[in-house]
Symmetry: C2
Subunit: 364 residues, 2 copies
């Protein structure tokens, strides 16, 4: 039923400093049930894509450090579907690596690349958009990205400006792209929203293997040359040693900056499936179920008194009494505890740094 | 050097619901370093009395459940100095039991009885008062209690009204007693303070074995009869079985209500050695060392930001970040966490009850 040429590459190498101590470099956000509904983000992401691609065509690219967690959380996939990076090199090398692995199996692959740790509210719409998008890129040599219709002037997202044209390949929601813009100031974000021709960049990409291959050759030839040297080694026992060697010399660069902002054949699929990058505690608070005092609590033995609008994440069996807090984050994980006003969440990275400086790296 | 007839009975059977989760029925307050200075309260109490009585004459009366903790915290004492109660029966039976144990060893004993979990600031003054008091009761058949000169209208303490007379047995600070009053309302407490003839009841008593024996015979003959049956069994292998039996039928009554409020030969030694019963988080906060933000923190890895006047007790190695709290109690122990405004500390008993009702007795 599902097209055997359809592949999915889930990027799962992120480290989660913003959500400390719920997430940390040992267990980043993608491996956590941040919404408190029983599934981790990578599990949700995998299950969504399993409705579009055959399960055996879904690859997870992650750091070597996360091999075991990936194995544990996705028992359905084969070990060879976990692509392990020895170093963090941003998204372009990660995608190049996956491309060469897939090319060794199926040169006719059509690929969707996506982050592992985002939120999608309307899964049916999502599946429809991805399926249609893969259909388009299997017939046309374009680089297709997903743009989310913005609902407020978020300054934490990247924006894509598109041409109000008549659609593309018979799909009225796919447009050509004018510009990519990184996180704007608030005033700029407001004017983006007013103009009506900007979309949020969701970091989800679709292309045929052939098209993305040519783009790497043209815009990132140094990176392409490195990975090309390994042809014949992918999916063999020699792969790991080869990858360890080239990753050491490979530069860090994102696919957005390295390819998408430079290529002429970029299209954007404007969609609306209730998306969030879950980048802040605030965004998490907005999405989680709340009780009648607007608290959202994970933990089986938490009692709240005289408290409102708090986001609480406690180990399942910890007995916790919270009295008299309004608009706070209260989170414990790995025997580390954070109590912090929601309005101060931008400081959390600094707290983590302070702890490392004062107490040692081993503590976070 | 120390008088071999001088004995001390430290009452250490209390359960600590008010300081949950720092203390609980598994580890009550007396076994905790509540001041965060390296010694538990029972250790401090023992060391104070070791300056007055020979160490081998210091007895700890506690519940069977606390035998091991007592052993561990007071390795200097012999096992026979730990008197174990099978049930909680308030202070009168506890004192009667200790009396009969001591009588079997030394009928000429002169005894000071004291709680195990109070704070004494001026230890030298305390030792002087206890030594002089024991001298008085070894020469006079009176029941001597310690009264603390009150410094504010505390509504949590009992009060002793005394006669402004010329002193007793050559000691100008020892007076005869008019009345005992339990915890007064604030207005009453204020008038007590204004009148100048009220003292706080510290729950520390001194008497000769002979005098307290006669008092039990006269005011609590049923209790005295129970313990008298065991003469010949104390300090033998038969003692435990006997005690288990009589404790089951023994009624609960305090020494204050059962003896002190009824006897005619009660005297009070007015003293001023910086005393607190450490009965509330507020009293603990007042006594602990504070940093420049007036926070008092136990825990080696606690970082405080934008926070003031908090009392924080964390496990030694737990990494904790607290931001934006003023006047809060933040305490973790045994994997249980409390965050509560200091002003609401009277509710803590209720929270503990709620937890037991909602989650089960095993959780606190």
């Amino acid at each position: 039923m599902l097209n055997n040429n359809y592949y999915c590459v889930i990027m799962a190498g992120g480290v989660g400093a913003r959500f400390w101590p719920m997430s940390n470099s040992t267990t980043p956000k993608q491996f956590i049930d941040v919404l408190g509904d029983g599934q981790t983000l990578i599990q949700k992401t995998f299950n969504r894509f399993a409705r579009v691609c055959p399960k055996e065509n879904i690859y997870i690219v992650t750091n070597k450090a996360y091999h075991d967690q990936t194995r544990e959380q996705l028992p359905e996939i084969a070990d060879e579907q976990i692509i392990l990076e020895p170093y963090r090199r941003n998204t372009a090398p990660c995608i190049a690596y996956a491309n060469y692995k897939i090319k060794a199996k199926n040169p006719n692959a059509v690929i969707v690349v996506a982050p592992s740790d985002h939120y999608i509210q309307k899964e049916d719409v999502f599946v429809d958009v991805i399926s249609k998008g893969l259909g388009v890129v299997s017939q046309n040599p374009c680089l297709l990205t997903i743009g989310i219709r913005p609902t407020f002037p978020n300054t934490g997202y990247g924006y894509i400006q598109y041409n109000e044209d008549e659609g593309f390949m018979g799909n009225p929601s796919i447009y050509s792209v004018k510009t990519f813009t990184e996180k704007p100031e608030l005033e700029m974000a407001k004017s983006f929203l007013e103009s009506g021709d900007f979309l949020w960049n969701a970091g989800i990409f679709m292309w045929s293997l052939d098209t993305i291959d040519k783009a790497f050759e043209e815009f990132l030839p140094d990176i392409n040359d490195l990975f090309k040297q390994g042809e014949g080694l992918y999916n063999t026992p020699q792969e790991e040693e080869f990858i360890d060697r080239i990753y050491q010399v490979c530069r860090k660069i994102s696919i957005d900056y390295g390819v998408m902002e430079k290529a002429a054949n970029v299209k954007v699929y404007a969609a609306d499936f209730g998306w969030s990058d879950l980048g802040t505690w605030g965004s998490l608070y907005d999405l989680r179920k709340k009780d009648d005092k607007l608290n959202t609590v994970v933990g089986n033995h938490v009692k709240m008194y005289d408290s409102e609008k708090c986001i609480v994440n406690m180990p399942r069996n910890k007995v916790v009494v919270i009295q008299g807090l309004e608009d706070y984050i209260v989170v414990e994980n790995n025997d580390m505890l954070l109590i912090c006003k929601k309005s101060e969440e931008q400081q959390i990275r600094q707290y983590v740094t302070d702890i490392q400086v004062d107490f040692g790296k081993e503590f976070v």
